[in-house]
Symmetry: D2
């Protein structure tokens, strides 16, 4: 690393950075699995100790990452196979999922900025049931068992003057869900993972993450109930792009035996703060991914009859 | 009245209905004022007693109605004169307006249904300051005195599974504003007042009012702080339209000495439940009115230097 | 009929009106079919002669109406069965559908007015292929046969200053499609058919029809290629609602032997011009119906390998 | 330059690139003007000869660039002063502006991608008059002289399957405007000019420019009437960002007497194709700039009474 602290919301990338520098890491367990028929790679990173948390700059907990190149392509079935994999992971991370519960889904991000509109898009397509079950009972759905699903899009500070965390905390206290699921667009460290990676974690959301950087903590500590966070990297910080290019070239030079490639100070990249890199067809990408995620949630929340 | 209970969100119309039936009413005071240069009529209805409240089917409090035919017309300055009148009324109804305060503006209604999107539109154009003042101080605006303005669009139950009132209550408890201002699209009793009337009241919002009928109470009792409600009728219930037409014709017949016009049962109008009447250029109307109201709020919240 | 000329965009309703008045009609053939398993009723009205056209106030041609009560209900599969029926009808009406062709789909209506946004919504979800096939060939889809599908949302006059027909005519001349398919929200004569009826005709679109009334002709004569129109009634004219209620009550009175129910003049209903009636959950309805129609189009345009 | 061909839509930047390389350029005249009270710099580049055009890789014609740092800041009056400067420039470039004419405004770009939504936003706020004047005459505006203003948002190829140029060509042929004004979001060469620069040119739009790169020519040659293009750089190509950073660092090294900084091949930056850099508050920026430009157009089109 060249003195520039590369920000990433992905545990997978944080681990790679450390690995490059230090080799093995204590307090962090990693398992990988590859599903050939769907070309999906699932990596399970568990940060088990405080030391591991410090090394990763992320809180202790489980981070499951699903990488699926197909997510970048259009699909008339909105990648139902990947949605099923995501649903499978969610059922592992949401505590006690076989019992009926009240679930609040939070769509973080800014509806007006395409690359940041993933969370709002997911809530738009969610199958919302709480108000119906409360007013008419489960009979309204001809079911004996129903989860109560509610959803909210808190908006961003420039629109509301409030932290999303303030709004969510108030809503959680007032409506008392058993679990909160937070969806957000993330910033990745490299373009390689953009729009083809889903990270699901039981650690909630940490301050300063996400595309808009507009957030306080949304965690079990702050909300009082388990918080599952689902994130998809849709942007890369502009400064990161430059840094990545440098590293790449430095590596090439080193491999060719050129040692003289100079160190670079990144003070000059200040103008890139508050800028991010995204792809040109981000509108179709966000539409497709948010539909895929809402389908994954809908199938997770649907209950088998007992 | 023909046995059909005509619903109206306007105190002005409720009073007219009673007047027709009973003549004078105790416990209700009414003052009218007409501004010739702006062609604006302002009516101040105060419900002073419980009897008055019962007769009006509305809670005790002050209801100020502004009627301005110009509101129906396009105006490149978004009816600044009317916005100033509204701001003048708001300064009377918001308690202690000359002191700095924290103000939460709530945009009720459904952003996806044009006639119901007034509240969301107002919040979209609001000058939001709370997050800036809290992070950088009033110096960020070169001011010694600043109100802290926040805004929220809670959405409707079909989208969130929650009552708007639940969301607002949680947000009020968490962020502690000094006053809440609620904007909503209303249902009027007749097409005559559509899109040209603004009602401002210090009684907040009652259950079962509004275009979408999607609400619990938002009042000083339920929220713990003063609640000012601003409403503009943008729709008429479909059943009301039919009823109105009948009354009109009945009247004409009666004036022509025909007594035989039969009584009408409205059981057959059930199919009109959940239907409403609106005008064809409702998109431009809502755009214009929401801009006018957000300007009225922005000028109300801007503080003179002490 | 009480002297009030009830406007309808549905051939089905036009025929019912005439039938009530005159009994049988020459030059008009009608066939009905009922699909029990999907609860879909299909009525095929063919206006065969000029006299028939005059009686119906609609041009000669085929009008196929599909009535499906299920369309009013949510469905997680977006009513795929009904979409298949619609696709089946389209294949009958679009000339020479088994050959590859260039198809322009026009989404009429105002995206900003929920009840009028059906056409734009359909184009939003369409599988657009023309630009890909022209740039990369059919190989891009691994196909030997592909239709070239293009789509346009011309907007309404208040937004563009132009008739939709002017824009479409220009685009047709410039891009030369083999057939034009026009989607529009219609006005029905009664609430009974709202949001559950689809009319498909090979006569195109006539002046003065549709929700917004904002159109010149879009016909084979005006565009030079076959024009198929697909319409769904999403609103009822406000004056029609009143008229309907009157007719209903008049009928009840007559059946009860009361002859004295007076004639009514509708001059007093002028204030209802430019107003329409729609249902409160029109946002979900339009979302569902536009998705269903775009699916019907997508399956119609997909080609079997020869 | 390091062999990487930096793309820019701004004549100003093209000229700077050449200047760095070659010093003075024949066939290109440049005038600068600075308005101190509004902190606006206006640069007038005229490409007078074919050689100049070749050197600049831009067609012959006049390119006026307005740089105003204030454009990056919020302003409750939507930068009316700057809008007036833009209007002043437009009056110079639109031929024969003092005579009544028919003007078609084209909002290029993708409404669904925030950074590319400038053109659509401008058309949304335009004062459209053509349909009114044609139906009711100028009397509808109490005017003796009125321009006929129409507007269109053609969308992008992924949505329509058609080149914007095909749609515009058809509409121009059908409606016969005297002049076409095209608005588009541009790609700049450096972040320094982002969202604070307006380029106005009488050369129209060239293939391959703009954020989305989705266009054929829109020029006097292709449309048959004068075409004025108004562009604001809202993004920078991702590869450009990297290149810029390299150049900057190379320069610093050179100034410090380090000669060994190696040449860099940019083959490795392929993954940055189809990616762009934009700022985080792009939603507010686009809203503000599109309103400013529509105001500039509205004041340009409004006619003095003769």
């Amino acid at each position: 690393m060249s003195g520039y602290n590369v920000r990433t919301d992905l545990a997978l990338e944080a681990r790679e950075s450390i690995e490059e520098a230090d080799g093995e890491i204590r307090g962090i367990s990693v398992e990988e699995e590859y599903r050939e028929h769907s070309d999906v790679r699932i990596t399970r990173v568990v940060i088990e100790t405080k030391n591991g948390a410090k090394a990763m700059q992320k809180p202790m907990g489980t981070y499951i990452t699903l990488e699926a190149p197909a997510m970048q392509e259009p699909d008339e079935d909105y990648h139902r196979e990947i949605a099923e994999e995501i649903s499978h992971i969610l059922r592992q991370l949401i505590p006690d999922m076989e019992r009926e519960k009240a679930i609040l889904v939070v769509g973080l991000g800014n509806r007006e900025v395409t690359a940041d509109a993933l969370g709002p898009g997911v809530v738009d397509n969610l199958f919302i049931t709480r108000h119906i079950v409360r007013e008419y009972g489960k009979a309204a759905y001809n079911r004996e068992r129903m989860n109560l699903v509610s959803g909210i899009v808190p908006g961003v500070m420039a629109q509301t003057g409030m932290e999303a965390a303030e709004i969510i905390k108030g809503v959680v206290e007032e409506t008392g869900p058993d679990v909160v699921i937070v969806i957000d667009a993330l910033a990745a460290r490299s373009t390689r993972r953009l729009n083809r990676t889903v990270q699901i974690t039981n650690t909630g959301i940490q301050p300063g993450s996400g595309v808009g950087n507009h957030r306080n903590a949304l965690t079990r500590e702050s909300l009082g109930v388990p918080v599952i966070a689902i994130g998809v990297p849709t942007v890369v910080d502009a400064a990161t792009i430059v840094n990545d290019a440098f590293e790449k070239i430095r590596k090439e030079k080193a491999e060719n035996g050129m040692e003289s490639f100079p160190d670079i100070s990144f003070g000059s990249l200040n103008e890139l703060n508050n800028m991010y890199v995204t792809c040109k067809d981000i509108d179709e990408t966000i539409k497709r991914l948010s539909f895929m995620l809402s389908e994954a949630l809908n199938m997770t929340f649907e209950m088998e009859e007992a």
